[in-house]
């Protein structure tokens, strides 16, 4: 429990399927906590539930309201259990108001025909890419080692481009072996695509996020503390809402996560 991510996603069971938590200031964002840690603490509630069946395969988190720097309660309800799958309904309540709604699915995987269709992108190896520092942008970023190969936020409007594609190597800082909690948080590591397009900050925030996990425990263990290759781009910005589609790969080329967001913005 020495890693900041473990402290920030720590939960105390207060009743069956009911947990109390609090995101620590290590993962503070400009307003409220880093969304990745909110998703991570929700998946942690599922992982800690004594009646859980299988590992996470899908998670959707809706950011319904702001989260204050105070304790919150997560309720994790099993909506349905099948032979090898389970469906979850989650809410995060703070000061009597629902701040987050979420659904999750866990499943027991069985070996069958598999095929990765999306190739690992053409990027330099992590040891050839300089480390970027964004600690002055927002506090949570200090918990990640980020090495951008494309789509850096420079705040220099001369770097504006028609593409919001970012590609980067990322790992927890300090190092921490990859698990579903950290993989969930890293799925939200990208700055809003609007910032990349405009090369300046603007009001923006994730309102809904979906993660598909394509990794079992074995694939996670094989990653260990090695960095992931992360990439994200937007497809449509339309009158206040933009999408973001993103992927996380292991350094040996396995696609571990595909994830999408809807992001509110004003520009």
């Amino acid at each position: 429990m020495n890693h900041p991510l473990d402290r920030t996603t720590q939960l105390v069971e207060t009743a069956k399927g009911q947990y109390q938590g609090k995101i620590t200031q290590d993962y503070a964002n400009m307003v409220g906590p880093f969304g990745g840690t909110i998703a991570a603490v929700l998946v942690n509630a599922v992982l800690q539930h004594p009646e859980r069946l299988g590992d996470p395969v899908a998670l959707t988190v809706n950011f319904a309201g702001p989260i204050a720097d105070a304790p919150f309660t997560i309720e994790a309800k099993i909506a349905r259990t099948n032979r090898s799958t389970q469906h979850w309904l989650l809410t995060l309540v703070q000061e009597g108001e629902t701040a987050i709604t979420a659904t999750a699915m866990t499943a027991v995987r069985k070996p069958t025909w598999s095929s990765q269709e999306l190739p690992f992108p053409s990027v330099p190896n992590a040891d050839q890419v300089p480390i970027n520092a964004f600690g002055n942008v927002t506090p949570w970023v200090r918990n990640y080692q980020l090495q951008f190969t494309q789509g850096l936020l420079t705040m220099n409007q001369a770097h504006r481009a028609d593409s919001s594609l970012s590609q980067l190597w990322v790992r927890d800082q300090p190092e921490r072996p990859l698990d579903y909690v950290s993989l969930t948080a890293i799925s939200d590591v990208f700055f809003p695509r609007l910032f990349i397009r405009l090369q300046q900050p603007a009001p923006a925030g994730t309102v809904s996020m979906t993660i598909y996990y394509h990794a079992d425990q074995e694939r996670l263990a094989a990653v260990g503390t090695k960095p992931l290759l992360a990439q994200a781009r937007a497809q449509q910005f339309y009158n206040g809402y933009a999408d973001q589609t993103a992927e996380l790969f292991s350094d040996d080329g396995h696609l571990l996560v595909t994830t999408n967001q809807l992001v509110y913005y004003k520009a």
Copy 2:
């Protein structure tokens, strides 16, 4: 109420936020109803709710259990209402069991800087593409006019390829002006990507589906009964679960929907 889609998504309010419905046999799939109509009837519950604020911007539907050819009850709860956004929790219950969990978000859009990053794909115009018939594959397909330009399911294994990309023109059959209900159903119009890869059917079914709507009422009205260009591909098939990432465009090039699925399969 003469169109089969309106009959199949029709709801009767039985209490505040509680609706009774039944998917008609027109939209039957191999097992249970076409998932697109399940998503559509859920969004219809939100649309009919008297306290709704704004139009759909996000919907996640989890297919937790099978749906029988019988009436069901949808409960649509408002989890949170903000100044211009609203978050919804939905369940579909049949014979005492939760068959579907869902979350939705509605919002009032305001004009701001907009930019479509994903270009309209290079495909022939709809009037240059033959109409494909799949009525013998599964009943619901008869309610759509489908014109494939790529990634056709031929059942000829000589057509197996490394890509699961399909591109097609699609519209309701008979014609019906586009609205959020039909746009939601069309978001699930794709056969499982596994079928395209293997060029044969296999056990497969959507377990979770997320739709981001990039269209306001004005954009929907501009489409009317014209066909949409739909495209879908998988990125990862791994030990029983595959993703599908897909887009719907208007024929004048606007990206109206980005949508993702997690699909169970056995091959």
